[in-house]
Amino acid sequence: MTRSVAAGTGIRLRYPPLRLAAAVAVALLALVPLGYVVAGVVAAGGVVVDLVWRPRVGELLRNTVVLVALGTAACAAVGTAAAWLVERTDLPARPLWTGLMAAPLAVPAFVNSFGWYSLSSSFAGLGAAVLVTTLSYYPLVYLPVAAVLRGTDPAFEEMSRALGNGPWSTFVRVVLPQLRPALLGGALLVGLHLLAEFGALQSLRFDTFTTAIYDQYQSTFDGTGATALAGVLVLLCLLLLTGELSLAGRARVARLGAGTARRPTRHHLGRATPLAAGGLALLAAAALGVPLACIGYWLATSTSTAFPAGDLIRAAGTSVTLALAGAAVTTALALPVAWLVVRRRGWLSRAVERSTYVGNSLPGIVVALALITVAIRYLPGLYQTTVMLIAAYAVLFMPRAMVSLRASLEQAPPELDDVSRALGVGPAGSLLRVTLPLVARGLGAGSALVFLAVVTELTSTLLLAPIGTRTLATQFWSQSTSIHYGAAAPYALLMILISAPAAYLLTRRSRQEADR
């Protein structure tokens, strides 16, 4: 459908040169870490084979693949089930659940992991790793899925039921296909995060490629072993990216006009209500209660507990400023790429879009060293300035903006752009007056997701920020590595507090859209 429209008009270039140039520039920035890894592997030569071909790497490969598979599946299942319960059933106190289900996004994954690990040292291994990462990342699936469930026309489901499908078969054959782009986008984000996850796994005695890369750097102080492992990690990332692509399908999900959809019907839970409410309460307690209780415990028992108001406010101010700038720049950079991949389908736009995901799947230290190496050689004037730090955030967190923008662009009918152009509005005018308002939700959601990620970013902030920069994440790290848990706790608490508005915004944005 979209394809025929694009081909049929014939009045415009397949790839508008300015937009293509912008998108390619963004992709090149995002590919800096990949280039660094490839250059490292090439420079190391034959040694890499010996470093990769050993039993330990087989073990890491198995662990990483299993964690990504189970963690992503668990996030998809938990996120979809929670979204369905909140949006499509007559569960009482819906506004409360809407807020609670998105709130874990405000809790940094490493704080969540500390909380669980504090309960017992036997909290370790694959099960612990899957549990903690699921509790931290299921909202990445929940939010887009809930938004779609809230917005879809119930007529499709009614038709399915009228044609004799049961409720379960209707869910699988009618609802699930509509959820597919949102679900896959969220699952892709979770998968990429799991490939690069370090903070949440460091105490859980479960080694993946990323934790092993940190160990290699820490112990050998020589990039070769780490680079060899990063090379394998890149291959896994490419596998994930092509996998998502082949699952995504090409079905059109855009519809013209928002006015015709009715409010979705709500399934009657009946006697299952306490079970459903209990399940969601358990989820919230596990994802929010445990880390918050841990922070409270530190504050209460540690002798180093202190609230240095000036330091806390300055660090919070810096974190908010950097996160806002990071969110704005990253989302702006993602826009031309998202537009290209949705509106001009083809191998080139696909390749450009897929390039922007790689940075998110590599360990923070690899991305930081790649940018250091490039900046000190080619852009010494920008080295360790805010500009460079924001560029690092963009490389690291572009997928969060990309997935959100892509989804909302796919829902916006391309015909509206055509109408605007046919009425004599230029390309820039169409972009500003038609496309951008249509993807406002995607811009907001993408920015909020990037904001949340920047608040907890550590490695790049330490190495690339202007000297003297102190954020909540760096001060939490500094205090906790000095074994001053009570002094670290207020920084963790503030990270959650400044993240809460962004998490709340994510639930509200989609609500307004649905209520329009």
Partner: protein, 342 residues
């Protein structure tokens, strides 16, 4: 439309402001004679900051800190090369110093500074000196390990009776130093047998606090850690160490290894004289006194200043003699990769 643009414009404005704020070089507003040193600090921030503040108070020379961990900042300095903005680098453990030293990025240390630190705590190349030290210890749960059963030597941990009964953090600098010492003292064949035994017996953790907490929880009876995690936790309320004690191997046992935190001046420093002055201050009586009085509970190494009174004195630890420049040598790393500890 407006509701889309407004937050974007606001964010762009904030971004621009932040960029302006950061590019405001103190040198522009201050008199040109004033120098500001850049310290790449991989030590605990409180230690690095205390030294910086003490030095500024004494000399008027400002010091700015970039904090990070040993491997992050050492690799960053190597990547920066001659263009590094850092004047001085201090670490938690010596292998990070060795990495920078191996790339010839450290300038020779002033003779006066070298004289303040005993030679066993400094680089034999003369390009960095010790600024602090930490001792390897065996932390054990007092209810699950009777004192009589404590290992007399770290070599005992490869014996069958210690199967699954202790934790190690093999990526830590101390563990590799211990492996180096075992190979040096026992020979390659016995060293390799011991390493395989430890690999089979040990529970693998990442980081010293994790091992100590596991021992405290009774998850594992004991483990190999640095002393200051235990003293630090005791001082912070003891939540993760109350049920444990420390056992010192002593007797020049490989397990009694003392790891050195180093400090050096970079060849790329544009304020070499002041940077050398700062290094002299950290290792001198004033700097070492600050360290002894701090809550970091690390050992002093310079100017004959005694360590914090809570600690067992360094001289009584019976540390083995280890060549600091040979730690994490390619052979040890290859051996650890061979048995699968890395």
């Amino acid at each position: 439309m407006r509701h889309v643009l407004r937050p974007l414009i606001a964010a762009a404005a904030v971004f621009a402001l932040a960029a302006c704020g950061s590019s405001e070089d103190p040198a522009v507003t201050a008199p040109p004679a004033e120098t500001t040193l850049v310290l790449y600090n991989a030590q605990h921030e409180e230690v690095g900051q205390a030294w910086a503040d003490g030095f500024t108070a004494k000399t008027g020379i400002k010091v700015e800190l970039r904090n990070g961990s040993d491997f992050e900042l050492a690799n960053q300095i190597v990547a920066e090369g001659a263009a590094s903005p850092a004047d001085v680098f201090i670490t938690e453990n010596s292998p990070a110093m060795s990495l920078v030293s191996s790339k010839d990025l450290f300038a020779p240390v002033d003779a006066g500074t070298k004289a303040q630190v005993p030679p066993q705590y400094s680089s034999s190349k003369g390009d960095w000196v010790g600024v602090a030290a930490r001792a390897t210890v065996f932390v054990y749960n007092t209810t699950t390990v009777p004192e009589a059963e404590l290992p007399a030597s770290i070599l005992d941990l490869a014996k069958p009776e210690w199967k699954d009964r202790f934790g190690i953090s093999p990526s830590g600098a101390d563990f590799q130093a211990i492996v180096s010492a075992v190979y040096a003292l026992q020979g390659d064949a016995a060293g390799a047998a011991w390493l395989q035994g430890v690999k089979d017996n040990a529970k693998i953790y990442r980081g010293n606090s994790t091992i100590m907490k596991a021992a405290n929880d009774g998850e594992v009876p004991g483990g190999v850690i640095y002393h200051y995690y235990w003293y630090g936790d005791q001082a912070d309320g003891g939540a993760n160490s109350a049920k444990t004690k420390l056992h010192f191997f002593g007797n020049q046992d490989p397990g009694a290894f003392v790891s050195v935190s180093g400090g050096g001046v970079l060849t790329s420093s544009k304020h070499a004289a002041q940077a050398q002055q700062f290094l002299a201050y950290m290792t001198g009586a004033d700097g070492q006194k600050l360290l002894a009085d701090s809550t970091a509970l690390e050992y002093t190494v310079g100017a004959g200043v005694a360590a914090n009174a809570k600690l067992t004195p360094l001289a009584e630890l019976g540390a083995p003699t280890v060549d600091l420049n040979a730690l994490n040598g390619p052979k040890i790393v290859a051996e650890m990769q061979r048995v699968g500890l890395l």
